[in-house]
Amino acid sequence: MSRMLRVSNMTAGYGTLPVLRGVDLEVTTGEVVAVLGTNGAGKSTLLRCLAGLLPFSGEAAFLDLTIKGSAPHVIARRGFIQVPEARHIFPDLTVLENLLVGGTALPKRSDRLRVLDDVFALFPILAQRRSQQAGTMSGGQQQMLAIGRALMGKPKLLALDEPSLGLAPLIVLELYEALRRLIDTGLTVLLVEQDVSVALKIANRACILEGGRVVLQGSAAELRNSPHVREQYFGA
């Protein structure tokens, strides 16, 4: 078990407004770590910083790559790939074209085509609809496409921002089923969620972000039974 992602004392914000106020986080290989919190707690800001989209102070390293100062495409090509909130598929591209763009992170075309087969095996629906315009698919299918597109870059660490957002409960189940299969292949995942119960079912470890700070972290079981979590997030 080696360390994959390490964040220490990360502070960031928009303008003069701090959103993250000193976040520490670590992900080791093979783990599924959930970052939980309400709207505005700083979850998405954390991911934007890690993707290289937002400057921050403090340290963050992915494997031996210093994230600070690295451009997003460099981070992605090293194997840290994100599925952003609200999916952001390329609506006018076909499903296949979306996936191929996702493969940009792999330099060799032969590798891209091999991974394409794996992705089609994981999400058969994408194979069926390969020439459909992505924008015309349903929300659930778009989410699968977004995940498939990220997988095309053969990520070592996959970050997912609220994959369940705006999807019907049945679709969420299906989606998490697929995630489960991915994780069983040994993929390391950083999962950002506000749906606490779903996230805790799939994660090994989790941390709770409140007001830009990690206020609590531990194993999934510990957090499920924590009085703080029960009071804040289950309203009980």
Partner: protein, 586 residues
Amino acid sequence: MSAVLSRFDRQLVVWIAVIALATALLLAFSGPYTISIAVGLFTWMYLCVAWNMIGGIVGQVSFGHAAFFGIGGYVSTYLATSYGISPWAGMFVGGTIAAVAAAAVGYLPFRWNLSPLVFALLTLAFAYVLEFGVGGIRALGGTNGLYAKTIGTSFWDFRFVEPGAFLVVIAVMLCLLLLVVSVIYTGRTGFFWRAVHDNQAAASAMGLNPFSIKQRAFVLSAFATALAGSFQAQFVGFIDPVSMFGIEITIFILLFTVIGGAGTLIGPLLGPALLFPVGESIRVYLQDHGGGALHHMLYGVVLVAVILLWPGGIVAGLSRFGVSRGRLRLPKPAVAPQRSPAAVATTGPENILQVRGLRKAFGGLIAVKDATFDVKRGEIFGVIGPNGAGKTTLFSMLGGFARPTSGTIVFEGRETQTLAPFEVCRLGLARTFQIAQPFASLSVREVVAAAALAQDDLDDPVAFADGIIAQMALSARCDVKSADLTLAEQRRLEIARALATRPRLILLDEILGGLTPREADEAIENIRRIREIGVTVLVIEHMVRAVMALCDRIFVLDAGEPISLGTPEEVRRDKRVIEAYLGGSA
């Protein structure tokens, strides 16, 4: 007297003095050649100040001001040559026609709230239609142009032998225009123009009508520009479509103003004052040495350099030396502000807000499905639901920012679902914004004062605003730009701004998100105090705990569908809520 003087920016008085002095010196010591260059300079300064009203202060960039310049020139010249009407009178006829034209060109883009780029391109097209169109009208001289009437030398003929007379005329016009704009910028109207410039949505949530504000600024700017066109026609004595309507005129206005600093009081004066004399010297020098367009190139290079180096123009570059953008000033509070603003009238129907069958569909997606609920006068009513449940859409519909697909919203007995945001606000229903830094260029005090000033029936809006600032514990921060506040302070500023419109119902949009638990507790106390002064509160929140603690009744949405309505206790026990909101297995 001092009350009137205080409305004039001090820098402006200095500029007027400088212009007057320069005019006097030129008349006394310079030859006709230098004076005619000075006339050109003053004309450009005048045009830049006029363009800056709409293009800089209100932020709707016009690429077609040449159209109004040309209308002024053509109308006065045509009336003088064909009907013998004095160009002085023709000037105002031209101004009026230009104003009507501006109202027509601006009507649809402003009414439909199209993007500034559409407005810019539309004005550009308008100038071209006129340039080519006038070229095809024989009565106006076609592409050959018209000569201004040369007979008659009385004052009313507006034809002076001495260029010095023209210099005096344009200097007076420039000073008058400066007085007018400074009165506007330092008064209520200037507040409103800048509020619309900074954030139109938030401005309409203060009860301002962005359409009429933009429309008025554009009409005024066009009127002023046309007067300069008439002047130019008389000064040069000849007009043709290219010299009056040509794109170059607009480009020069834009270029000088942007270089000086668009949206500031003195930028449009500074730009031409610094560039034009240099450019003219180069032009004259080169004319004697084989001619060339080097001065145009200089203008272009300076424009590009200024945009890249000093995006705010020379004024922004000078601001470090204490040159202000010529901002409006509020009177200092005379007496200690009242602790709490006057209580709000609490009479009226028991249900202040009645929502019936409200639905919003975006294409095939139903964001809100048949929401029905009442808000009772004086209660704190909560709307909760997971992300994507339709809370924000519901909120937008209540505030007039989105039009429902079907259903009705009745506020104090009046249907509001078809009203614009500013109309909803004027009825007494105010809202806050989730992203709480709407007015980049206004201070805390100015933001709240602008909202109070937008209300017509307040005796002392500034004192009223100060009272609300004190109540929201922002007095110590009242001169800070709103973007420099902490998140908790920005949220309080949002509430203060909403309260300054004197609402009877206030809609609070996720004002607890991102706050630390202590800040959240303070915010909850604040909301309770709002209710105590008689304002009914509707909160949309994501934090369940806070809503449970705060609200009298709660409405729960999930995936666009209302699933529960009741007291916190009832909602907490509702099985559907537990299933949908808490993920089923909690």
